[in-house]
Symmetry: C2
Subunit: 184 residues, 2 copies
Amino acid sequence: MESESRANMVRSAAALISERGASGTSFSDVLADSGAPRGSIYHHFPEGKRQLTLEAMDLTAGRVVAYLRSGTGTTPREVLDHFVAIWRLVVVASNGTKGCAIAGVAVDADESAASLIAAARDIFRSWSTLLAEQLRNVGVPAPRARSVAVTALAAMEGALILCRTESDVAPLDLVVDELRTLVR
Amino acid sequence: MESESRANMVRSAAALISERGASGTSFSDVLADSGAPRGSIYHHFPEGKRQLTLEAMDLTAGRVVAYLRSGTGTTPREVLDHFVAIWRLVVVASNGTKGCAIAGVAVDADESAASLIAAARDIFRSWSTLLAEQLRNVGVPAPRARSVAVTALAAMEGALILCRTESDVAPLDLVVDELRTLVR
């Protein structure tokens, strides 16, 4: 029960950061969203908001990696489509209000939050490394695979921002079409 | 003198939002950065932080449009290189700490900030429309021009996020190389 309340807070934090950024997400927001009692914050997260933010990032990263590893693409196009599909679901399910929690930290964090920026860097690297590996596995030469993977990650993250402003998944769909031409 | 102090505050707000997002930028930060006296905030911006944020967005948008219009590319590749060059300067000059203030608003703003999200949408549209026009002017067919322009905008915005986490311009350079292949 106690650990369930803790897990709910991390899930709420991840969802809220993906909607309004890390600076825009307060402890009060997380309490309201998760229904956790106020006293539970420093009980569960003695190091404060940074600890909660790092755990929310880890939760997001883990979900994305598990999803990516579930992919069974046999062509570069299928691999790219699978990479983007999880984000497409996020945009459609939220009517364009949710994006990527890791970007929500990277855009917000100032110099005092070096540990958050470093965590975001490691997560982005793990995603592009995994995507490059999957592209190589379906025949894309190694140097191209890395370059296409980083470009796909950047284009996907930027498209999520455009989807937010348009309240529409169209920018992501358009970008995916163009990404496919990179591996044709 | 009075208008100079006001303009300094808008410039500071634009710079700070590009570094730490809109939620992460407080009036106090803007006062400290611009050196404006505390009383000047509600004198100059009676509608509060949203007014200052909108003016900072307008300043950024105007600078980018003026820069884009100064381009004299004669090939699709030159047009794309020029589109990205202003952001490359921002990243290099700030050692990767600064990105795009419009993204810093779009990622941060929650549902209560519909006017900010709408302003971000209009600015992104104006940039991609202008880039598409410049691509058409050098021979890219209209439907391709729009698709490449939106993709270039998305990839550039996402690359700026990766540059922040890497404290390095390398992700942007890599993405530009891939974008070039879209218009080859």
